[in-house]
Symmetry: C2
Subunit: 139 residues, 2 copies
């Protein structure tokens, strides 16, 4: 029952007018699930769209996030990353190689105390450590 993802449709459903740049940026984000930065998106898409501006990438990704089409991943100390995956998952950053991995966690069993009568909109679980490859390499 999976539907082939259609960029224009997704944007329209989110209330975003599907311009050429927006379609290309959205397609890039949902096809490259490596948590790219603005700079990465800009560099890669510039080859295809020579007139593309960094500002457009910044604004567009912020717009997508506001409309809940994508998620921002604030795991780096200096720059933001973006994630086009829809399902709930956490992010692991290897402090040796810097790579960011996805992992699953059991959100439903997680119980909070101290947030009574708070509205919870967005949960982020982030872990830092050493990935398997780096652990083996340095042992």
């Amino acid at each position: 029952m999976n539907k082939i993802q259609n960029a224009s449709e997704d944007l329209l459903n989110a209330g975003i007018k599907p311009s050429y740049q927006r379609i290309k940026i959205y397609e890039f984000i949902i096809k490259n699930l490596t948590h790219p930065t603005v700079e990465t998106v800009y560099k890669k898409l510039s080859k295809e769209i020579p007139t593309l501006s960094r500002t457009t990438v910044y604004n567009t990704l912020k717009l997508f996030e506001k409309k809940e089409l994508i998620r921002s991943v604030n795991i780096e100390e200096n720059e933001m990353r973006y994630d086009g995956q829809k399902h709930i998952h956490g992010h692991f950053k290897c402090t040796v190689c810097g790579e960011i991995f996805d992992f699953n966690y059991n959100y439903n069993d997680l119980e909070f105390s101290g947030l009574d009568d708070f509205v919870l909109n967005q949960t982020d679980v982030m872990i830092k450590g050493i990935c398997k490859k780096c652990r083996i390499k340095n042992s």
Copy 2:
């Protein structure tokens, strides 16, 4: 069985030479559990230490974090916050008033998959939403 916290002792135990500035900064962080920014620490301590430099605050907090005396809280989009609390807890940011709240969660209930043979050093659970006060005010 609680021990009165002694800044110099804590620093020495962490392998940090307890200079005047370091003691003052450490004391501020463990006494002001409101997730202060570098700027906040600098502004408040400047009154007591007129010669204090922002760079010293930056370097010292980074040093404390590296020695695992305090934790950095990367929940803002632009600037870092610091947390002197020792016990495991999560951070909630109200997107209306901007305040950051602590909450407790059962760490043992958090089960991960996809991180086999990874070394997990630091876990951060962050939630964004609307705090009780702002929810009531806007209803």
